[in-house]
């Protein structure tokens, strides 16, 4: 403690010495530095996707740019199919997960007794199990159920993971909503379920939107489940992207072009929802 205190006092003194304008300039510089740090890999990715196959190792020196890589990946039916599959599975998983997570989070937040306690413990136990260790058992389960390499084979594990992770967050959102609003609704003529649907749920919309976006992005970016639980019938974008690394070499230009394609929808979803995510996570 004693070692920390003088250091804090010193840094405080340094900032105090700066003029207000200087402080702002320093802050802006720091913000730009952080932005560059995060933006640079994306910038490099886009640059690589626009270079011919021979020039990917000289991205910074080359002058030759092409959109041929995009033509090439988009002419491969597997990429188009994977784009659609990833989009459909992300969207369906989000809808299904939210359907369960909202009611599950609400129950954990508002009710006490053996059922919520058991449910809470169950989720807790599943959360404690490392995510990776689920994959192999799930592979055998999907094989046994005959849903390997199908939408259901990937959807159900995703939904299960989301329920475990997001029920907690949803509980937090509902904890932040005053339950007396629901009591007032019950006195005003609603049933318990009616009070949930008409009062609690609309109040949780910022949180719900944030969760929907996180859920969608999580599924869209997910690789491990997709790699193990799908094959040729249901190609997924993250797996298809990785397949540009093969025994004959690494097609960085094609991989980058596919990655840029994958970036598009995620970027749209993030831009659309960022204010909800920030508001939701502040609840």
């Amino acid at each position: 403690m004693s070692a920390v205190a003088p250091a804090q006092a010193g840094s405080h003194g340094f900032f105090a010495m700066l003029a207000p304008g200087g402080r702002r300039a320093l802050f802006i510089l720091a913000a730009i530095a952080v932005c560059l740090l995060f933006a640079f890999p994306i910038f490099w990715l886009v640059l690589t996707s626009l270079r011919p196959g021979s020039g990917v190792y000289y991205v910074h020196r080359g002058t030759e740019f092409t959109i041929e890589n995009f033509h090439e990946v988009l002419s491969q039916p597997v990429v188009l199919k994977a784009l659609w599959n990833s989009f459909a599975i992300s969207t369906l998983a989000t809808i299904m997960s939210l359907g369960v997570t909202v009611t599950s989070g609400y129950m954990l937040s508002r009710f006490k007794g053996p059922i919520p306690n058991t449910w809470f413990s169950l989720i807790y136990v599943f959360r404690c199990v490392p995510y990776v260790s689920w994959v192999l058992p799930l592979y055998f389960v999907t094989l046994k159920l005959g849903i390997f390499d199908t939408y259901w084979g990937l959807l159900l594990p995703h939904v299960a993971v989301h329920i475990c992770f997001f029920s907690w967050i949803m509980k937090g959102f509902f904890d932040g909503i005053d339950p007396s609003m629901e009591y007032a609704a019950m006195i005003d003529g609603c049933s318990r379920w009616g009070a949930f649907v008409r009062v609690a749920l609309p109040s949780a919309i910022p949180g719900l939107t944030a969760l929907a976006i996180l859920c969608w992005l999580y599924t869209w970016n997910e690789f491990l489940f997709a790699l193990i639980l799908t094959s040729h019938e249901t190609p997924i974008l993250t797996v298809v992207m990785a397949q540009f690394v093969h025994e004959l070499g690494m097609e960085w230009h094609l991989m980058s072009a596919t990655a840029v394609l994958a970036l598009g929808p995620a970027l749209i979803v993030t831009l659309f929802g960022q204010k909800y995510v920030i508001r939701g996570l502040k609840v």
Binding site: Y183, A184, M186, D188, G189, C190
Partner: protein, 386 residues
């Protein structure tokens, strides 16, 4: 228009008893206040009447219906919550209309009810706003409006003024008094603030540890508290209590303790004699004590050292150490100069003394002056024109 009859209401959470044997008959249009410290079971009782908590035993009747197993929506009640509980995603107008729309009341009637409530509460300019755009006082008015539009049999108030600052609370208290004259409805009001209880209630129910301590009009509770707890809870500043040993000497009862000696005529406290050899608490309200020597047989005197003075502008309150016990004396001339540490004497009329049994959980043994018949208002107020 309804009576509320509570008979032997019980509420337990496992082995913890929150409310025990609560019985009360509330008359039509009566305003009853449940008051007590935190955790005394007053809010639980209100929530049981509302149907938000199941009851463990007893019956609740509203009007001529037993409502024990009815949903809150079917009990024909309205409730104001401590934190207003307005629907944040709706406008004020929709908040007011919500209950009526649920009951499929025609829109024209809803509009008329909203206009009526908004006029009574002066919230017409706020109808298009969202709750979070309103101040605390405005939100509480909207919450009241939500009750009024429904025209229910019973209003329930769960500490509705607790979240307001002191000035606004005093103003809302007056508005509530006026409102109940305009919209006379059977009301049950929960608070931990004895001033709210005294000023608003036709009758007050004092609770502690899930048990009813006393039910009575504000004056009854003030003048004739049933036990030491009620005596200490009602009245501000709180009543002084002096812990004394009891001895009987003919027709005099002597109460003594280090530095304190009081002699009371036995005929004024006929039940006190049975505590001979035991202990009693003598209670004196700070307002009933005066500085100076006792001026006759009907007064008692207490000598002590002046410890602290509190200047309030319109009066001074002083703390006097009598023996080992501190007592407060209120209503002292604010211009009177008093030196702390000086010896001082205070006196009080025997009429104003309360005596409590120290062995029987502070049960009242007697009051110097019994209540005169008809001294307490029990009739309900007249209705004001709307």
């Amino acid at each position: 228009m309804a009576e509320v009859v509570l008979t032997d209401i019980q509420k337990s959470y496992g082995t913890v008893v929150a409310v025990k044997d609560f019985s009360l008959e509330i008359k039509d249009h009566e305003f009853v206040v449940l008051v007590g410290p935190s955790g005394c079971g007053k809010s639980t009782t209100l929530r049981m009447i509302a149907g938000l908590e199941d009851i463990t035993g007893g019956t609740i009747a509203i009007g001529d219906r037993v409502v024990n197993h009815l949903q809150p929506k079917d009990r024909d009640i309205a409730m104001v919550f401590q934190n207003y509980a307005l629907y944040q995603h709706m406008s004020v107008r929709d908040n007011l209309a919500f209950g009526l729309r649920n009951r499929r009341v025609p829109e024209t009637e809803i509009e008329a009810a909203i206009a009526h409530a908004a006029r009574i509460l002066s919230i017409e300019p706020l109808l298009a706003r969202r709750p979070r755009q309103l101040s605390g006082g405005q939100q509480q008015r909207v919450a009241l409006g939500r009750c009024i539009v429904r025209n229910p049999k019973v209003f329930l108030f769960d500490e509705p003024l607790s979240n307001l600052d002191a000035q606004l609370r005093a103003q809302m208290r007056l508005e509530l008094k006026e409102l109940r004259l305009r919209v006379p409805t059977t009301s049950i009001f929960v608070t931990h603030d004895q001033v709210e209880a005294m000023t608003l209630g036709d009758r007050i129910v004092v609770m502690k540890d899930g048990l009813v301590q006393q039910v009575g009009t504000p004056l009854e509770l003030f003048r004739k508290p049933a036990n030491r707890f009620v005596a200490s809870f009602i009245g501000s500043p709180a009543m002084n209590f002096i812990d004394l040993r009891v001895a009987v000497d003919g027709d005099r009862i002597e109460l003594t303790r280090e530095g304190v000696a009081l002699a009371l005529p036995a005929r004024r406290f006929p039940d006190l004699g049975r505590l001979a050899g035991g202990k009693a608490w003598v209670g004196i309200r700070p307002q009933h004590l005066k500085l100076g020597r006792p001026s006759g047989n009907d007064q008692i005197g207490l000598k002590g050292t002046l410890m602290v003075t509190e200047q309030l502008g319109h009066e001074q309150i002083v703390v006097v150490r009598v023996g080992r016990q501190d007592i407060r004396v209120a209503g002292i001339d604010p211009d009177l100069s008093l030196a702390t540490g000086s010896e001082i004497e205070a006196c009080a009329a025997i009429d104003n003394l309360h005596v409590f049994d120290a062995q029987a959980d502070g049960a009242s043994i007697g009051v110097g002056a019994p209540l005169a018949e008809g001294s307490i208002r029990t009739e309900l107020p007249d209705r004001l024109p709307p």
